[in-house]
Symmetry: C2
Subunit: 354 residues, 2 copies
Amino acid sequence: MYALIMAGGTGTRLWPRSRVATPKQFLPLLGQRTMLQETADRILPLVRPEQIIVVTGQRYIDLVAEQLPDVPREQLIGEPSGRGSAPAIGLGALAMLPHEPQATMVVLSSDHQIRKADVFRAALQAAEELAQQGYLVTLGIQPTEPQTGYGYIQRRAPLGQFNGFAAYEVERFVEKPQRATAEAYVQSGQYSWNAGIFVWRVDTIMAAFAEHLPQLHEELGAIERAGGPSNPAAFGAVWDGIENITIDYGIMERARRIAVIPVDIGWSDVGDWDSLAELAAEDQGQLVQGQHVGIDTANTLIYGNSDRLIATIGLDNFLVVDTGDALLVAPRDRAQDVKRIVDELKRQGRTDLL
Amino acid sequence: MYALIMAGGTGTRLWPRSRVATPKQFLPLLGQRTMLQETADRILPLVRPEQIIVVTGQRYIDLVAEQLPDVPREQLIGEPSGRGSAPAIGLGALAMLPHEPQATMVVLSSDHQIRKADVFRAALQAAEELAQQGYLVTLGIQPTEPQTGYGYIQRRAPLGQFNGFAAYEVERFVEKPQRATAEAYVQSGQYSWNAGIFVWRVDTIMAAFAEHLPQLHEELGAIERAGGPSNPAAFGAVWDGIENITIDYGIMERARRIAVIPVDIGWSDVGDWDSLAELAAEDQGQLVQGQHVGIDTANTLIYGNSDRLIATIGLDNFLVVDTGDALLVAPRDRAQDVKRIVDELKRQGRTDLL
């Protein structure tokens, strides 16, 4: 089994803690280890460090090498720029292909939290059985609310039990729905959230690239012939012409023999400060980091810089995030709008704060 | 005419900007000059610098000397500790007495704002006429709302016009009222706010001390005999025994021949961050100081440290005050509770933040 860790995200909605120089996945947001390190820790009972490939931005290669010192440097792939998940996964598969084309490949995000690591690993082993039968497998997250921020996966006929998990054929992948649609999905009991956790054989996914994304498959081949993705020079002029496309849209929505294993693994994409606050409350039983004095302050995330005292009065369900050079204050239900602050800073050319 | 500027306050409710080391009156809260400097600037058309006496805490003497370089050093009186306004005014009167006992003495706070400085000075000249007739005169502020944070002065019979101002005998001084009482006061049209602006002859007030606060008068005499209040050693052991008492309670509520001149001078005691926000909006037309990016942010005071960006989303009527080492976030209507933060920091022994 190989693990491909996708570490190219920007984590914009966790500004001002997450920055262009050190996005979310490189930060210890919920504990001592960074989210990337926790992602590797979680999979290491199943793979050796030499079986981990990380795809990230070229600028983050040194950061990844520092945070995952046991992963061989030649398995860190730096994209010249982000082109969506399909090219990134293609690069990863390309790096594995020469070694063992029939090996199982697990695709993981570097910036998600998974609380039930044991269940997660058991589900991956179930998925491996299906993958070895030629399926493109995804772990589907049991929805807890009608989220409009995630894609959904509808199941069809059962495929049987694998390592104690029920697996299903996939009816379809659907993109982020409207609220009413999301409610109907959750109600029906037929849908899972798409968390971007995929399991397949290396040769299966490469065949799917050849069939459904032939141009990208050709471009990846050119990179391979020029020295392979672990060689920065190999990207040459090819990369700039590559279309930005997700694996969901490019392959999963089109391919046959797709399977889903619905799981309850304590998953969160830690997508914004409100979600981080929820996790902090559940995991640590409190929302305060740093020095805080509060009068009538409740349900409020205080994410402080330990150099400075944060004093609050009369705040309920707020976010106060203080870094050395920037401060964010907002009600928790406006957490998604942090992106608008970042957009405004971009517009103002404040690269020092991005 | 002499001016006694009272500069011993702590400005607790403007924490974290106002600190024990540099309280409110020593800060440029609303402009380029500090409130103490603005207080001196405002009176200087009427008195020479040699006619200004400042009573402050001993620890602030150097700060006052630095901010008011034209006032002779020997006219800066440093109290070993705060004992309320009566002892402070007594010390100031004592310093003036040998020079010109029949001179007019104006008592001013160093941390109030007065927008209509011309009207203010004209009113002081009116008060001077009455003072020279032996009255203890106070400028009474026309109430604009039923404030429960100020004392009130009830007027009685008119004493006539002085320099264009109507003056009245005072029926009584009353301490901070309950809300309903304050509403009745404002309704009646007979009450002014007591802003602590007093005008009297030096010998008149010294006689009042002798009559109404004989023990304090005696203690002040001991300080005088030991070298006078401009000599720190003169306070000796006397000061520790001095009772903490206000001039209102000690003299104004008891004495005869008290007059009030109701005035509209654009007065504010800048008592808390909410009041500062109001003044900033009126004077400067905006509430933001420092770097700010706001999404859906209105009526919110951003009092920033220029080193750091403050980003806010969805705040209406809030305070965000950011200094190097502390940060305050609260709704404006909780501004009075800043004192509770300071109390909590005291309890925790955080003298570094007081």
